[in-house]
């Protein structure tokens, strides 16, 4: 899976591309863990290049939310397409995350104290 990072001020925007399922989720989890080890706790996940997410990916998102909360950081999600939004909604995950239309808006949210 292709995953790109963009640093914007104190925020890192992570943009995975393709599908987030049981085959690709381990790579995304490893990627996010390495960011956490580097002290990056203000994170935006940009889903605009993601085709779909399964529960394996939701697990990665839940772990990210818990880890970030413990580190007093912030997470926001952006660019959710119909499929990704639907799965977050069905799983009851939307209330757990700050969800913005674009990565820039999400970054602004996460930058604020």
């Amino acid at each position: 899976m292709q995953i790109s990072n963009t640093k914007q001020g104190v925020v890192v925007i992570v943009a995975p591309v393709g599908r987030i399922d049981s085959t690709t989720s381990p790579a995304l989890e490893a990627h996010l863990q390495s960011l956490a080890r580097a002290g990056e706790h203000r994170v935006v996940i940009d889903f605009s290049g993601v085709d779909y997410i399964s529960s394996a990916g939701l697990r990665v998102m839940l772990t990210l939310a818990k880890r970030t909360k413990e580190a007093r950081g912030k997470v926001a999600l952006a660019g959710l397409g119909d499929s990704v939004r639907q799965v977050f909604e069905l799983a009851g995950f939307l209330p757990l995350f700050s969800v913005e239309a674009t990565a820039e808006m999400a970054a602004a949210k996460v930058s604020a104290a």
């Binding site: 049981s22 085709d51 779909y52 399964s54 529960s55 394996a56 839940l62 639907q86 799983a91």
Partner: protein, 178 residues
């Protein structure tokens, strides 16, 4: 369409079951049209291979984007469930058959794991706060939500799960070109 499926089939090295040879597949081939079948080991590598075949099928029938995502997401849940919970590292096989029945996409998944009806799994509480959130059962809840029909049967020593999606694909049998 069969021609293209066969091309892809050769490329990715899977067996094509056209019209249902006796005993070739457990799924009722008459309702599946020209099914695409793959048999993979019950491992994560096998799962990835089965997902590649499912993607080829979705591309072939040209299902709309959201419908494709629903098919692929539900299949990932079903296959991962077999690998992680059904087989738990034991050797086994998974047979996936993808077919089209009119405007429906039908997936039939048969596995050699211990008897397990995923439809009996309790649904997770999706209203708990972050700290208490558990994900057990979430995959199956998604399968139910993302399909139009799911049915389970234990037969011939295997678990058989049939998933159906009503998608807006054009039925080649309609024959009414605009």
């Amino acid at each position: 369409m069969a021609y293209f499926v066969q091309q892809h089939t050769r490329d990715i090295g899977v067996r094509l079951a056209l019209g249902g040879e006796p005993g070739a597949i457990d799924a009722p081939s008459t309702t599946l049209g020209h099914p695409l079948t793959v048999i993979v080991p019950g491992t994560l590598d096998g799962l990835a291979e089965a997902m590649r075949v499912a993607q080829v099928f979705c591309d072939e029938v040209d299902a709309p984007g959201l419908a494709q995502a629903n098919v692929m997401t539900a299949l990932d849940e079903v296959l991962a469930n077999i690998v992680h919970h059904g087989l738990r590292g034991a050797a086994g096989t998974i047979e996936l058959t993808m077919g089209q029945n009119g405007r429906q996409v039908v997936a039939h998944v048969a596995d050699t794991a211990v008897p397990f009806d995923p439809l009996l799994m309790p649904l997770p509480d999706t209203s708990l706060p972050l700290e208490q959130r558990k994900l057990g059962g979430l995959g199956i809840a998604l399968v139910r939500a993302l399909t139009d029909e799911v049915s389970y049967e234990r037969r011939d020593g295997r678990n058989h799960l049939t998933l159906t999606w009503r998608v807006g694909i054009d039925d080649p049998k309609d024959g009414h070109a605009d």
